[in-house]
Symmetry: C2
Subunit: 311 residues, 2 copies
């Protein structure tokens, strides 16, 4: 294989109550990445859009992941990575996770699959460390595994793939303002009341149970975040209006995607998800803030091959 093109999905992390542990892949939004063997060793980066992102591999999310993988294998060739980002940096939809996870997945294919999926997650976490200062797996786990993933622990890494109710769909509204993950982390309180933590893990338990039992009513009751959402929503204009509009339009639940500013809502099927997206659009159309929206199935698959050149 000389080159391969992969699709690397957007992801929603911090699913409501399940801050830092639960995430899912978005089927119809993501990056397109092509990996080519080069005679010159090392890593070259070509940005097809977002040309302001650094192409120095040591300062590029995809670059640091690729460098670490190549260092482990030490092949007699190099790799060029051509990226066309569909997930906007700073959106809260796992932009750096898509670059990092897509590189781990795509380059592993190009190298003849020397690494297991868990190792791919670990490589991809290096990209997250560069992007946000924290080597978290919230986005790269669903990006690589697909569906809903639970990152029970990062040290040691323990990723559990949870079932996805068949028709579950997602609406996303991304206000085109930037919220840096670092800032969104810094405004969180360092400690919480035990009673609030108990409420939160009761809801996390309910949310996980709802995925196994396809119980959307339970999912709706469980999608309540009393710890992170009340703080981070301050950084998202009209957050509660968006949430109310989504719920009124039939969404199961609605919260902040990752560290924001994107807002996601889950619905029982695509028809409802489309109505929910429309309802959220209306809220933002009445403001001056530019935005983009997505409506998608949950991505049962994570990163996937679009085409390869086996010659």
């Amino acid at each position: 294989m000389k080159e391969i093109t992969v699709f690397s999905p957007a992801t929603v992390a911090n699913v409501s109550c399940a801050f830092d542990v639960l995430g899912f892949a978005v089927a119809q939004a993501g990056d397109r990445m092509t990996f080519r063997k080069t005679t010159q060793k090392g890593v070259g980066i070509v940005m097809k859009n977002f040309r302001e992102l650094p192409v120095d591999p040591e300062r590029n999310v995809a670059g640091v992941v690729a460098l670490a993988m190549l260092q482990k294998i030490n092949p007699d060739f190099g790799v060029s990575i051509e990226m066309e980002k569909g997930v906007l940096p700073g959106s809260g939809m796992g932009s750096s996770g898509a670059s990092a996870g897509g590189t781990a997945f795509g380059l592993n294919q190009l190298l003849g699959e020397p690494f297991e999926k868990t190792e791919l997650v670990k490589f991809a976490m290096l990209g997250e460390a560069l992007a946000s200062g924290v080597a978290h797996a919230d986005n790269v786990a669903p990006n690589l595994y697909g569906g809903f993933t639970l990152v029970r622990s990062t040290r040691p890494l323990d990723v559990i793939v949870l079932p996805v109710p068949a028709l579950l769909s997602v609406s996303l509204l991304h206000p085109l303002i930037e919220v840096k993950t670092k800032n969104a982390r810094n405004i969180l309180k360092k400690s919480v009341l035990l009673k609030d933590a108990v409420t939160q893990w009761g809801n996390v338990a309910g949310l996980v149970a709802s995925l196994f039992s396809n119980d959307f009513d339970l999912m709706a009751r469980s999608m309540q975040d009393g710890i992170v959402e009340p703080v981070r929503s301050l950084l998202i204009p009209m957050f509660y209006a968006l949430k109310q509009a989504a719920l009124d339009a039939g969404a199961i639940g609605c919260s902040i995607s990752g560290s924001g500013p994107a807002v996601f809502a889950l619905s029982a099927d695509m028809d409802t998800a489309e109505k929910v997206t429309e309802a959220m659009q209306k809220v933002y159309a009445a403001t001056e803030i530019p935005f983009e929206t997505f409506t998608s199935h949950i991505g049962k698959q994570g990163c996937r091959i679009l085409n390869d050149n086996k010659i």
Copy 2:
């Protein structure tokens, strides 16, 4: 029906990481309670053992539950409750929960089942409020529903019954020292670090997933409590020696039952659970502290009818 005798199971609440939300019923340990219609209105209590417990119905856990139920129905008869406790008060194995839940269940049968199960939980919570000052459902939910129950919320009450892996068994060692639930609550810190709370709800999510997927490895990795166990274990002599002995003997996980002092361990089957009980016994046999042990399947059923007199 003039009288009915029921079995009301012991329960393990605060299952490791899942403080205040998860509990399960113990099949082979519990109270025996007989409910008889009396011509005189009101509630009479007869203690067949533990005669030091108050028999004034307003000061007795079973009594307050029965009074509340009778007040709602206002039948033209009264009830006498004869209790033979198998769950020792102050054991941490849901003693007050067994009295309260057993009364809700048994009296409902005697009255012709006017109440739904959720209502029975609410009545039983009145007994818990008398016993511990907090109207919690951690014990009465598994006592009434059986199996593993998640109390996602108490206000409003939301009990979710979770699946029980077929052969899952429990070992219990109850040191015969008393730890009052009130005291065990008071020593807990009022707040926790957000990062510790996140670790905890990651583990709660893993534990719930393990029940659905019969994944005992995941259950083992998830049964880690970094918040409550480190504090409450101080009240339990030799706790960490017990825990180590249980794990060495093959237990999946081990933690404090309820607010202690009983310690429980889960095992994949009864054979292992018996070995685990023996291993725990050895630890305590080397001390001067009296103790009792139990080995049991998880009680798939909660309270159940032993016999009734339909005449």
